[in-house]
Symmetry: none
Subunit: 406 residues, 2 copies
DNA sequence: TCCAGAGATGAATCCACCC
DNA sequence: GGGGTGGATTCATCTCTGG
């Protein structure tokens, strides 16, 4: 319930020992850069320094602060240290020193998708959060998530025993039938968290650099604290941790060296804005409007699938005179003419000069007529392979009939 | 090409300096346990020791071996060190020492779903692979993946410029229409890889502890080597790396201290088995060694693939008068006539009355002639979609020429 | 040759607006 | 209003250039 300006090393000394349930630390990452960002309306600029004389200096800086963290943490308390790839391994060595290897709990991977850029190598798309507790007797609330769509639910309900060789097998009754066991609650939360990166357009954005999504902090707070517990963030920055704590009815203490950051934090606490990720709520599957068959056809014509356009299913990777070439796959319960209408309409706004329509249904009228009509529109009609094969087999049967009747 | 029994430290000394393109290391993890596992029929038991007097001993053991790795690696080469959570940070510190921090490339997260255990805390479901190169000038092949379903594909086809405030905006011509940029390839592969853990029942499973999925190794080999390059695995265990290298036509060297492991590796190399994964489209057993294009064609004509080396790539699921219908996909560097010869020859012995040949290459002579000839043989020639599209675009360009010359 | 700073990158996804 | 589509904005970036 307090937000303090100052160096967290000094300010933590003012806190009593064993008084905090959870510490989340998001210190500088040793990027050797100054990070700045402007608010959207260009009125304010926030920045923090992350430049150091040496790695040793940096590690020394962090270590003394971790030691204070250890002191103020309750015996049931936990600490989460947020790192990126630059120096995470050295930070974890420090944690081993201060908290002991035996109190390592998890290496949490925060994984997200992000806009890419041209880079030789793999696109980095995760950050690491180390989870240590002060003792073995740490507070932990298990969160259960949904089973993955491919899980065989029947199977997980089955009870297991060990056979004579020590292998785990399903328990069976005397008739050899599998016995169903107790009901399961879901899959316990794993250490890999897919949470969308704070979107460039999200209202939650404050203009403070390196701002974290509230959803991430909520998850951390939920698993290691109950309502009324105390959460401490010694590098609170824009105050995301405190906002999440407030939303979840936890007490909170925030410290930051920058008074701009503290001002911002106080403003956010007055009026918390949280972006509910549509993507997380609906699930990625809900955005997928194409069937596997359609995707497979699109791949075989070397096209990129488009999921959010009702008339166009994809674009060819090649273009024509700088204009995209749109693709539609005829749907079931859709005539070729209807498919053509939709494709033409949607393609107009994209400035497509050429279009491809894939026929997947065998219809009454002959292909020849359609072809002639359609080509006037710069539209190519392709038959899906199974359509071609069906037509061919029908023809073949017909011609056999002709031969035999002669 | 060689599989060696012995301590990799000694054996690597026999390799020349700068002779290897890729090293994948999967050393013991410092779990302080002896790992044993039985084959499914309980006839064999494999085990290896992972107990050490101290962490220092363990790190010393690894470090001298990493130094040999550094020596044998080509200047364009890369090393991948597979770790689990226990000691990954200390291993990375070693890598910094031997390869230098500046040659750190990626922290790859291999994430998978797992059966839950009822431990207090988060269910661990990832392992870490450190990717270092010997120099800045390392070999790297970018793999492109699909766009997120939420991506606004229409828009990313557009080109961009900076406005007067330095903000990035989409480029428009004098009429205010957006201008389209270059063609898109997809999203570069990230450093978080979702690859299913070996299903306990998978055929691929050999009974050797800590076995890795082939898909994981295939991905590593693909991004850092070309065909004919040399792959080294100093702790080859059951030989997964070597099997993957063989499938992808890379040369390989494997070393392991256990002669049981080497025997098993040699058996696997004789007859590689790759597990069928429902979660991943690629990598199904019967598709081994086929190109992506062939796979997608076989899938889209709903054919059952057959093993290679005959004239037939698969059979349609439908048949004709009780006789199978054979399919061949024209190979690169193969004329349509050659493809036809092979298909006819192989189909005769199978008693096929009908055959399907998929043309994948654009050749000189016209399709029409071929069709007439071929149909006498009860053989349907289908054009792969991209062939049809190429022909169509060529025709279209020609017809534009005609119009303008009139 | 090295470092700093300018310039190019490019997909993700929420938001706003439109019927 | 609510479903769909066009737009905006970003980088714990990445690469390249010049002194």
């Amino acid at each position: 319930m307090s937000v303090i300006t100052g160096d967290c090393y000094e300010k933590m000394k003012g806190l009593s020992s064993e008084s905090v349930d959870l510490i989340y630390l998001d210190p500088p990452f040793f990027t050797q850069k100054t990070h700045t960002l402007k608010t959207r309306d260009n009125t304010k600029e926030f920045s923090f320094e992350d430049t150091w004389d040496s790695l040793q200096d940096y590690l020394k800086f962090i270590k003394v602060r971790l030691e204070e963290c250890y002191r103020v943490l309750k015996p049931t308390g936990s600490i989460f240290l947020h790192c990126d790839k630059t120096a995470s391994h050295y930070l974890r060595v420090l944690l081993d020193e201060v908290f002991d290897m035996s109190n390592f709990r998890s290496e949490i991977i925060w994984s997200y998708k992000r806009w890419s850029n041209s880079k030789k190598g793999l696109l980095s798309s995760h950050q690491t959060i180390y989870f240590y507790s002060k003792t073995d007797d740490f507070k932990f609330n298990t969160i259960y998530t949904d089973y993955s769509p491919t899980t065989n639910i029947d199977q997980i309900l089955q009870e297991r025993v060990r056979d004579e060789n020590g292998k785990s097998v399903y328990k069976r009754n005397d008739d050899g039938e599998v016995i169903l066991g107790k009901e399961k609650k879901g899959v316990p939360l794993t250490d890999v968290w897919n949470i969308p990166y704070l979107n460039p357009k999200a209202k939650e954005r404050t203009g403070y650099p390196t701002q974290k999504p509230i959803l991430l902090l909520e998850q951390i707070i939920k698993i290691t604290t109950d309502e009324g517990d105390v959460v401490l963030d010694p590098f609170c920055g824009s105050g995301t941790t405190l906002v999440a704590a407030k939303i979840l009815n936890r007490k909170f203490i925030g410290i930051d060296a920058s008074s701009d950051a503290i001002t911002l934090t106080n403003e956010r606490l007055e009026q918390p804005i949280k972006t509910e990720s549509l993507l997380l709520q609906k699930g990625e599957e809900k955005y997928i409007g194409r069937t596997d068959e359609e995707i497979s056809i699109l791949k075989s014509i070397d096209a990129i699938p488009v999921q959010r356009n009702s008339g166009i299913d994809g674009f060819l990777k090649v273009n024509y005179l700088g204009k995209p070439i749109s693709v539609r796959i005829q749907k079931q319960n859709e005539t070729l003419l209807e498919a053509r209408q939709k494709l033409l309409k949607s393609s107009k706004t994209k400035g497509c000069m050429l279009m491809v329509l894939v026929r997947t249904q065998v219809e009454e009228h002959s292909l020849f007529e359609i072809d002639n009509d359609f080509n006037k529109e710069n539209l190519l009609v392709l038959d899906a392979f199974d359509v071609s094969i069906k037509l061919w087999m029908n023809n073949f049967i017909d011609s056999l009939g002709d031969v035999s009747s002669k």
